[in-house]
Amino acid sequence: MPDARARLAVAMLIAVSLVAFRGPLHGDQRYDDPPFLILPGVGLPAVNVGLMQDESHAPDAPEALHRVAIRAGLRGDDGARPAASFRPGRLIVKFRDEAPDVARLSALHDASTTGTIAERASHADFDVVHLSPDEDPVTAARLLMDRHGDVVEYAQPSYRMHTMFTPNDPYYASNQWNLPMIDLERAWDIQPAAGSSITVAVVDSGLAYQDAMIIANVPAFRDDQNRRYPPLGRINIPYSAARQVVSAAHPERIVAPHDFIWDGTSFATMPFDFDGHGTHVSGTIGQLTNDGEGTAGIAFNVKLMPVKVIDSVWDFLFGAPNEATDDVVARGVRYAADNGAKIINMSIGRDGPPAPVVEDAIKYAVGKGAFIAIAAGNGFEDGNPVEVVAEIASRVKGAVSVAAVDRARNHAFYSTAGPYVELAAPGGAIRGFGASGAVYQQTFNFDFTDTFLLPPAQYHAPRFDVMGYIPYSGTSMATPHVTGVAAILMQQGITDPAAIEDALEKTAIDLGVKGRDDQFGFGLIDARNAMFGLGLAK
């Protein structure tokens, strides 16, 4: 309590100082102010509202669709599926190593009238070419590939990624049907350390891993229905860590956090989750367990590396310089591998054209010894498009694509099916089950964060300090089950990514059509069977 009082005092002092020296907290924007500021370590522990029956984070929930639409509108998309869209004015090009600079520039000028090669970013073996926003990157990419194959290995537009749920320990027994479904209790018997020596990178929307006070100038915007939301002006936003993911006593659990949405700014090392998805996914992987509080996680002792590559509505409104595009995701994956992650969770994806830049990054990470679990997608009832990133997994031994099953071990209604599906895990479904059919973990109470879903007259500043145990469903939720089990398997002794994939596939419970099939892949993962391995004769 004294600590809480002290932190409250500091927070108030800062707030008063800001009022005194920077003008009003609300009202007219002052464009000479820094548009965004994070004061880490300042703030109070989250208010925990406990278990919620929120059903707004199912793939087909109206709120989820609205959330996506607002995000698309803020980016200037034309309402097309976000997965099919790309960021204008950018082209990703991998020049051949042996190609001299003169040849590279010559090829680029032949394919584009406005292209300039940007300074190469960290964790990238490719270049980003800046184009005029009016120039079509698809055409430029095709020209580069068709005419200059001797200089260019691949070229692609900077396609946007999105999370694979489309926005939606007392509770273990009552709500977490998903963990017993993969026989996790018996797996924990075998490996009680639950991944303590393993670092898991969650390449996602960030993580609520630290208390902070966030100061931002929030401009006006229009939503997907063209309703104008007024500027919030300069506001202070309380932000709290999800204490069931990162306890105050062990902040060292977080390893090498990085924010590629805010890369190039002073906030690049603070991948704060303004969406809630990354925090929820991280919870399934590593929620603190057996502590008499909240829900359980699978590999509850792993170290977590939040790598933010997915932007949220608030990131956009706060002025983030980057978006969740292929190049950003590729850099995130490479960063994770370069910084010691042995398991990488990618509850993200898109459909549309291929993503060679992401494929290269996945191969690079697997080559460095990282196992990767990738969401198979939620588009089964939406034309069942091929999920580009998940499809890559099927061609890389050591990366797996993960479909979802519901509480009855049936194919989840939304889970994309295809020949690239390799495994299935509990992703939950609200349809037919209600909120109890979803996957619960601690994350933000969206009544306090997603204020942009309210009518403009009720729109107000968000708070990221109210947490609850929120039901989500999607292949995004299925994927961290595989990630968590993979982390335990790696600690158990299966250190090679390809062998982990092999173990998970060979020990999966066959569902659906006998043998591998497009809905379940090799079947539902079985943590205990994978961990138990083989005896001499049995």
């Binding site: 002794g493 961990m531 005896g535 001499l536 004769a537």
Partner: protein, 235 residues
């Protein structure tokens, strides 16, 4: 272990064979009774046929056994029959290893203890060549019942194994008469024990992975080659 033993055996047989031939092969020892009951104790070192499987689980491909039995010789010591039982010469008569996962031929040890016992009960018979009063080469064959158990930590009852299968055995060796009532025998023994390995576990995986059908058969066989030392009491 096998090579020195076989070498010694060959040396003994060759050194004994020359004078024996001079005396006439098949000449029974003059004092041999028509029927003799001869208890024996034995120790052996067996090199398992399923080398990859044993190496993966236990980190070794051979094990020592001890046992005993009763031998009967008839027709003035020319034909013998024996029954013997043996068990692993290890603490608790168990081989202790760990469960594994095998991927692409590579073995990943999982740290889950696994304990196996092997208890053969064999009946065999054969012919004894009286090449010298003190040196008696012999060959024989027989069959046996092989009791195998496998237990792993964290296993449910159906995941452990307690089975008995039949197998065959062949042996050839030489008995040296060290004393009127004591003989010391060295032999090489081959056992073939199908039906226990190969239907599940690491043995199945190795049997399936190998390109060689001969190696696949070996990985399904609980038998092996053993060098055996027997001390026989009786005439």
């Amino acid at each position: 272990m096998k090579r020195p033993f076989v070498g010694t055996l060959a040396l003994l047989m060759s050194s004994a064979a020359a004078p024996a031939t001079a005396q006439g092969v098949f000449a029974a020892a003059p004092a041999a009774p028509s029927i003799s009951l001869r208890p024996f104790v034995e120790v052996s070192n067996e090199k398992f046929l399923a080398t990859r499987t044993f190496d993966a689980i236990f980190g070794e491909t051979s094990a020592r056994f001890w046992g005993g039995g009763l031998q009967v010789t008839v027709l003035r010591d020319r034909v013998y029959g024996e029954v013997g039982a043996s068990r692993l010469l290890l603490k608790n008569a168990e081989l202790v290893g760990q469960r594994v996962f095998i991927s692409d031929g590579k073995v990943y040890k999982l740290g889950i203890p696994l304990r196996s016992t092997i208890a053969p009960l064999e009946i065999s018979g054969g012919y004894r060549f009286h090449v010298h009063p003190l040196v008696v080469p012999y060959i024989g064959a027989g069959f046996g019942s092989y009791h195998y158990t496998e237990q792993s930590d964290f296993a449910d009852a159906p995941e452990n194994l307690d089975v008995t299968h039949r197998g065959g055995t062949f042996q050839a060796g030489v008995e040296l008469r060290a004393h009127r009532w004591i003989g010391v025998a060295f032999d090489a023994k081959y056992t073939h024990v199908p039906g226990i390995l190969g239907s599940s576990g690491a043995s199945q995986q190795f049997a399936g992975d190998t390109q060689s059908s001969a190696q696949a058969k070996r990985e399904k066989d609980l038998g092996g080659w053993a060098g055996r030392l027997k001390v026989v009491v009786g005439r």
